[in-house]
């Protein structure tokens, strides 16, 4: 009983080791970066600081507007990709999950398909 009590009640001071660990990790990273920037040889010039383009002159700016279509298609792909990932373990455990699993998957798929209907109506998949 006593051990049970001990393991469930934490005082804020019990987290001190975590804070110290975090502080040390942060101090090590920041300290190392400062020291390496100070002791290492460095050379700065206009050409050195240009973006690396395999040695050929830089053409234009990378931050140009890109058609939203690419982004939407990519996001929709990720969404349905994840859906398929969930289908595999469900298929493997189809029998043991039984009716409950089936209903849960129907709910999940229904939700996604509702979203799919929505994006089709919005015309996301119309490329031209």
């Amino acid at each position: 009983m006593l051990t049970h009590m001990e393991s469930t009640t934490y005082l804020p001071s019990d987290y001190l080791p975590v804070v110290i660990q975090l502080g040390l990790a942060l101090a090590f990273i920041v300290g190392t970066m400062i020291v390496t920037h100070m002791i290492g040889p460095n050379r700065k010039s206009e050409k050195k600081d240009e973006p690396f383009e395999s040695g050929i002159p830089v053409q234009g700016d990378a931050r140009t507007p890109i058609s939203i279509k690419y982004f939407l298609i990519a996001i929709v792909f990720v969404l349905f990709d994840v859906e398929v990932i969930f289908l595999y373990p469900w298929a493997v455990n189809f029998k043991s999950l039984g009716m409950t699993g089936f209903i849960e998957m129907i709910l999940f798929m229904g939700l996604l398909l509702a979203g799919f209907y929505y994006i089709i109506r919005k015309g996301v998949l119309k490329w031209e």
Binding site: P41, R43, S45, K48, I56
Partner: protein, 181 residues
């Protein structure tokens, strides 16, 4: 357990019970020499020999150079393997310029070293016309053993380089002679 794996020997220094003291130069030199990340700049047949050098048989990884860097930012050694046409020279120079200090250059093969058989109007007669070179590897093309020897020579340079070398007037003058800021 007995092992025949050869470890890097510690630099000269003072050893005692529970401590080892040496100079910063030697320590950093040892670390640099055994983790030289190459940037392969291969344009022709010497590049094929370099591929063999990277492969399992010759295994450049034994020298701490198994991580080829295809960005100059994290590279330590520029390995120029192959004929450099005059049109390629500015590209080569730009790649060299964008490498972080300390940086070393190996000219692999006759073409990179001197233009080789291509004594013609379109070929750079040696990359040392545009960038400073540390080690020249002869051969047309050189065998992988020769390329490894070249890398080992750079290891020697790295081991024995003073930490102040890159800030010294001699080095600045060398770079200025190549119009490098």
């Amino acid at each position: 357990m007995a092992s025949n794996i050869k470890m890097v020997e510690a630099p000269e220094g003072h050893t005692g019970e529970g401590f080892f003291a040496t100079s910063m130069d030697k320590l950093i030199g040892m670390a640099r020499a055994n983790s030289l990340w190459p940037l392969p700049f291969a344009t022709s047949c010497c590049g094929i020999e370099f591929m063999a050098t990277m492969g399992a048989h010759y295994d450049i990884a034994r020298f701490g150079a198994e991580r080829p860097s295809f960005s100059p930012r994290q590279a330590d050694v520029l390995l120029v393997a192959g004929t450099i046409a005059k049109k390629m020279a500015p590209v080569l120079k730009q790649v060299y310029l964008q490498m972080a200090e300390p940086r070393w250059v190996i000219a692999i093969g006759a073409c990179a070293s001197s233009g080789g058989i291509f004594d013609t109007y379109s070929v750079l007669q040696g990359i040392d016309r545009v960038i400073p070179v540390d080690v020249y590897v002869p051969g047309c093309p050189p065998r992988p053993e020769q390329i490894l020897e070249g890398l080992m020579q750079v290891q020697e340079l790295a081991k024995n380089e003073s930490l102040r070398r890159r800030n010294q007037p001699e080095y600045q003058a060398l770079l200025e002679s190549y119009n490098i800021e």
